[in-house]
Assembly symmetry: C2
Homo-oligomer: 202 residues x 2
DNA sequence: TCTTGACTTAATCAATCGTCCAACTACGTG
DNA sequence: CACGTAGTTGGACGATTGATTAAGTCAAGA
């Protein structure tokens, strides 16, 4: 009803698509449902986007960008262990803040694996690489072996993914909030044993 | 072509369904594709099963049973920490052995969440409860608080799920084999700090 | 006022999808 | 050997639902 610019409408459609993908899965995310969710007309979608694929490309970009934000919010001046903790916590908080974002991410990764197109793996891959970069940025003083960086990034991703699975399955926010602390403590224990650093402020 | 009993054919269809679900997702798992994968005729599927739902119920039961097997393979005479390690390793080895099984499990859980039918969450829930039961079985000597059991089970599930995500995304078996050890070491570190037990034989 | 961009209605066209029927074939049994 | 039954097949039905578009309406700025 309200007349807004096409650019803003596109943003509406992207948000709507994320909700619909989370609720119905990639295959269930039809143009009709997305238009409905955006409270817009079906034809409006094709006025803003040439095709459904075009819209999904934007969705893809949005999700990737969201990860970039989360990762770049970590403090680059902290120690390696602190940065790792911040990255993990940041990811989990993002999942907690928006279950739809979390669910859509898992859905996109799962879909990408099926298509064995490199395009989908890129979400996972880019995020992992950004984590590595953030970790590398902290360890300017003491040289850290690349394998260590890789391992820490892998553990962060593993813990974050596992956290998301449980949180999405049960949808119990208060339980998930507690579980977040458990997961952080798991990372802390391992980091202490692996790189011998004690968490600050604990 | 070969004439076998309907019971065996049903088993073929279940296995075929798992492959197809892993490859095309739940929504992409059509009766035709499943029949194709089973190298059987489409009508054969409806000769063995009244409906697609009937077949999927069997698939569901098969996956749940597979988890039961993995969990019951753990040695009930070990310590709490050892049992925990065995459970985690058992799950990861099952994933590694059959990516299709791993992918189908994730797919089923994801699908279940969307339908918010309790039926689907049951896969996750039953597995988690079995893990708790196995953990409880070991701690007959020293009474362990229920919250501790819950937490350990949660961490095992989280690590196993996270492992599965990465393994399925990249499909790199040799990398996953190494990552399995990393994940186990993460659990070990946390258990040592949490329940103060040193891993045996390390 | 007239053009342009935002928006809508209603249809088109084409895939499938699950299900089922009727016919055909091999096999074990009487 | 005949015959019933279990296994197997090709083909088609009916219905849903998918993305996309043609053509027309409405509001606002030049």
């Amino acid at each position: 009803m309200p007349r807004i610019s096409a650019a803003q409408r596109r943003s509406d459609f992207v948000n709507a698509a994320i909700e619909v993908i989370a609720a119905y899965g990639i295959d269930g995310a039809t143009t009709r449902r997305i238009a409905d969710q955006a409270q817009a007309n079906l034809a409006m979608l094709h006025y803003c986007y040439d095709s459904k694929d075009d819209l999904f490309a934007d969705v893809y970009e949005f999700v990737a960008g969201r990860y970039r934000d989360v990762i770049q919010d970590s403090d680059p001046h902290s120690t390696l262990a602190d940065t790792a903790r911040q990255l993990l916590r940041g990811a989990m908080e993002a999942y907690l803040e928006s279950p739809s974002f979390a669910a859509t991410t898992l859905e996109l990764i799962s879909w990408a694996r099926r298509q064995h197109g490199d395009r989908g793996i890129a979400v996972y891959d880019q995020a992992l690489e950004s984590v590595r970069a953030a970790l590398r940025g902290t360890s300017a003083e003491h040289p850290v072996e690349p394998e260590t960086i890789d391992q820490i990034a892998y553990v962060i991703a593993t813990l974050a993914d596992g956290f998301a699975m449980n949180w999405l399955t049960y949808g119990d926010r208060s339980a998930a909030t507690e579980q977040m602390e458990t997961v952080v403590s798991v990372l802390d224990s391992w980091l202490a044993a692996r790189v011998g650093s004690t968490p600050a402020g604990v």
